[in-house]
Symmetry: C2
Subunit: 248 residues, 2 copies
């Protein structure tokens, strides 16, 4: 419990808001697969989304169920508020296998909970909710009525709590330090990678009061001919004199 970034009450309020919205849209069960949505509802943030995982939210169940890879269950136990029976890992023999898929086991979990004929919402355009995941699920749950939750959880997330705003302010202070480091480092002859190395260092070290974490994307750095490119990767070439640049 001590590892939660927000109070139990705040997580309960988030879950309540998501369930209300589910009920409004006529969904009995929601499968959240967007990693940030799973994090929002449980605190789970281990780097495991490269294999299929989902959070199963039922309007009738008090707690959601974490479904993920066995080796990551230890993280789910430490960093979320979920009780042991709500942490349902699948074995490694299902990881990146051609002849089976973790969502076969997710379908079984749904069946075992009596939800196989319910109205089940999936995040159909979420990163990591692949076409194959959906096909396996639909085939394994022929009586379920699958629908698209679209950005249901994301819209709930948009209203920020005081604690969230507090973290955002901390993130703003880290971003200030990152930008200052970029300005300090940029000079003719300095390699682009050395500028970005300093920026990353500032991002992760944070401030003496609070540390930083990785971000959704790496820093984008567009000096010289790349000033018109929003998402270019830095190079290891030295910066030339008198060039435009677009650090962001």
């Amino acid at each position: 419990m001590s590892n939660l970034k927000f109070s139990r009450e705040e997580y309960a309020a988030r879950l309540h808001n998501v369930k209300s919205e589910m009920a409004k849209r006529g969904f009995d069960v929601l499968l959240a697969t967007e990693p940030s949505n799973i994090y929002y509802l449980t605190g789970y943030d281990a780097w495991s989304f490269y294999t299929p995982q989902a959070l199963v939210v039922s309007v009738d169940a008090e707690m959601p169920i974490w479904f993920g890879r066995l080796i990551d269950a230890a993280s789910a136990r430490r960093i979320t508020y979920l009780s042991e029976e709500c942490i349902q890992p699948y074995p490694d023999s299902f990881v990146q296998a051609a002849d089976r898929h973790p969502f076969q086991l997710l379908a079984k979990l749904i069946q075992d909970n009596g939800w196989a004929d319910k109205r089940i919402a999936v995040e159909s355009d979420a990163y990591y909710y692949t076409a194959r995941s959906h096909e396996v699920l639909a085939r394994s749950l022929p009586n379920a009525r699958l629908g698209d939750s679209e950005l249901l959880v994301n819209w709930v997330r948009i209203v920020k709590s005081p604690r969230e705003i507090g973290y955002m302010k901390e993130a703003g202070r880290v971003a200030e330090r990152m930008m200052s480091r970029a300005v300090e480092m940029i000079a003719p002859g300095v390699r682009e990678c050395d500028v970005i190395a300093a920026v990353y260092q500032a991002q992760i070290a944070g401030t003496p009061e609070f540390g930083g974490v990785y971000s959704t994307s790496p820093p984008h750095f567009g000096p010289d001919e790349r000033a018109s490119e929003p998402h270019a990767v830095w190079s290891d070439q030295p910066l030339r004199n008198g060039i435009p640049r677009s650090p962001d």
Copy 2:
């Protein structure tokens, strides 16, 4: 051309190998959506995969077609060998819109090229090939025979060229520096985030001969109670004395 990390001949050989494998499996067209596969075939590595994009490979066309967001076309022009008519961007009005999807335009591109009734392979379990992407594509191309390429490109990638092995050796030298920095930094009382900040700095700065880039995942750091967790995120707490740790 000067921005390519590999020779034009090497890219041509990669494309040839992928087309051969497509022909063997009975595919006329392949839609590569895995970012690393698009990079492998063209050199395109801008951080744009958070909106739908694809590389269209036809067994009959000399060059593949890059399909992506308009603002990223400038990167495609600079960092790939593709000619202008093979860079086909879609407008920003299709980005993250509820009422339309970029793959409607991808379907039109396929149609305009006379491929609407062909055997088209998709990477159905690739990250970023979402259920919605597939649904839009299938609905927009009712006469196409859609199939699963599975890991077709990934298996071609597994045979490494001398130049690739050269880059892998450089990456190995960067990884050595990262690990050395971790060993230097880890001590009782040092904050975890400061250890990882130093590791990141070493990763991006690389060596005096070549710089580093971002990696597929952030460093994982499991000291203390987290030694059993493979994908935990670091904290900003100081390290305690006499604890187990699993840096990887």
